[in-house]
Amino acid sequence: MAEPSIVADSIVRHFGEVKALDGVSLSVESGTIYGLLGPNGAGKTTLIRVLTTLLKPDSGTGLVAGIDVVADPHGARESLGLAGQTAAVDEFLTGRENLEMVGNLYHLPSKDATSRADEVLERIHLTEAGGRPVSTYSGGMRRRLDLAASLVGKPEVLFLDEPTTGLDPRSRLEMWGLINELVDEGTTVMLTTQYLEEADRLADRIGVIDHGRLITEGTASDLKTKLGGDIIDVAVSEDDRDRTASILASVTDADAPWDETTFSFTIPAAHGAATLTEVVRKLDQAGIVPNDLALHRPSLDDVFLSLTGHATDGDAPATDQSPRSGRRRTASK
């Protein structure tokens, strides 16, 4: 097997009492997309910041394109591109000037910086807007320009921190298309997302991160199978919550996680419809009338809930430094 393009080796980073990263290890094969999935404050951004040399870990290290980010940050920067949560482009420069500036900072000869800027503008379909100041761009155009800026140095490895947060559906599809094209050409991508759908659609492998730890990883279908097939959602009123919990525990021999946002329990249906029947019978005997009861194939939401005990709309302290989009996703169906 080829050398992995990204390696995290027992990375620990604390901010005071908060364990933003509590020993994260993973590796990403060349030419694939790795999706880091987790709620706000889970440690996703911190991991990206360590791997892109913006932040020194307390211990552990990372390799990007085989270069140690702690021992040789300058060398690692030659091989990586970063597009952060905010579009880090200069408002008062034109799109082209922004990209030329980045090219110059990669020490391309200035003629090459210009032609590279044009190349990248064409690639993100901004050739026409390239001569206009960025202050006239829409949010989606800025994000694309930001992605373009990270492509100027032809990085082997691209880090995208929530590349589509705050984008409208059409811009999001465009962004997904661009990311897929890049990977087809051999770029390795690590992206973070709060959107389960995004991880499902894009990522070859998904790592679920919560409270600074990698809880599980695998392909989207691996994660779904981990739940053992179908699952049952049981929505009950707050009053019936405790009794329902013990009934469900007796069915599955495990504590059922409670989702605060949907007022429901989610349990694996080990025997499909038979499990559902058992749940219905036991609830009926106890005189509990559920508000909703459903048997379905697990979504990544369910995977997340069952792995972390809480929905993706996390209540963990926000340790990430960058300003956040106000949009959050709940585990709604």
Binding site: L54, K56, A88, D90, F92, M101, N104, G153
Partner: protein, 259 residues
């Protein structure tokens, strides 16, 4: 090694260019940052001038203009803090830090661009000053040395303000904090009035603090008065401020985005 130096110089030039474009493309900012010192110049000349120079033997405009050049350089340095905090907030500094560019270029580019802007404002001030009656009293070379000292003093304070901005990380806090530091230095000084008119408890501070030393130096050089050791004193202040805040600024920059 020489390749590193070449890269460092080129990165700095790229950053200076970027920051100057920002100044040029925000014409309102350039306009008001030039108008503000002109207003100081006119207000002090025509409103306070008559009262202030009683008992001195020079025209107030000749006393005032060198002082206002220093004041402009000092106030202008706050733009360094504000500009950096804005870049920090916009995530632009993250991008720069993820590029294989020289670490110091972001700060050097910023302080140098602010120096260039200050040169432009100074030329405008000298023009307006000469229209309302300012005349140099010595040689042109002495006057140029005086102007250069005012500009270099502003440059050194830009580094102090860079450190301050990166430390507080927020544009509003940076602005408020810098004015808290700057107002006493500018007003309890010989910029607008001779320190001899101040109460004795204040005189000791007012006569010897760096803004006064630099203002007196620039005034002596532009007015053709004996300068004594003033040039040396000013040079020492500028060197001392740079010696403290250049390394401190770079250090805070390295940590600012990381923590």
């Amino acid at each position: 090694m020489s390749r590193d130096v070449a890269h460092q110089v080129r990165d700095t030039i790229v950053m200076v260019k970027r920051n100057l474009l920002r100044i040029i493309r925000l014409p309102q900012l350039l306009f008001f940052s030039s108008v503000q010192p002109i207003i100081f110049l006119l207000l002090f000349t025509y409103v306070f001038g008559g009262a202030i120079t009683r008992g001195t033997d020079i025209a107030y405009i000749d006393f005032l203009l060198p002082g206002v050049l220093v004041q402009t350089a000092v106030f202008g340095s706050t733009q360094t803090a504000i500009g950096l905090t804005e870049d920090l907030a916009a995530g632009v500094i993250d991008r720069f830090r993820s590029l294989p560019m020289a670490r110091s270029a972001v700060l050097t580019g910023r302080t140098t661009a602010d120096l260039v802007r200050n040169v432009a404002v100074t030329i405008i001030m000298l023009t307006v000053g000469s229209i309302i009656g300012f005349r140099i009293g010595g040689t042109v070379l002495e006057a140029l040395l005086g102007v250069t000292i005012a500009l270099l003093f502003g440059f050194s304070l830009s580094w102090a303000m860079a450190a301050l901005g990166l430390w507080v990380k927020n544009a509003e806090t940076a602005q408020t904090a810098s004015f808290v530091l700057i107002f006493p230095l500018v007003f309890a000084s010989s910029v607008f009035v001779p320190t001899a008119s101040m109460p004795s408890w204040l005189q000791g501070f007012a006569a010897n603090q760096p803004v006064s030393v630099v203002a007196s130096t620039v005034r002596a050089l532009m007015g053709g008065f004996p300068v004594g050791s003033l040039v040396l004193q000013s040079a020492l202040w500028i060197a001392a401020i740079l010696a403290v805040f250049f390394p401190l600024g770079v250090r805070i920059y390295r940590r600012a985005v990381g923590s």
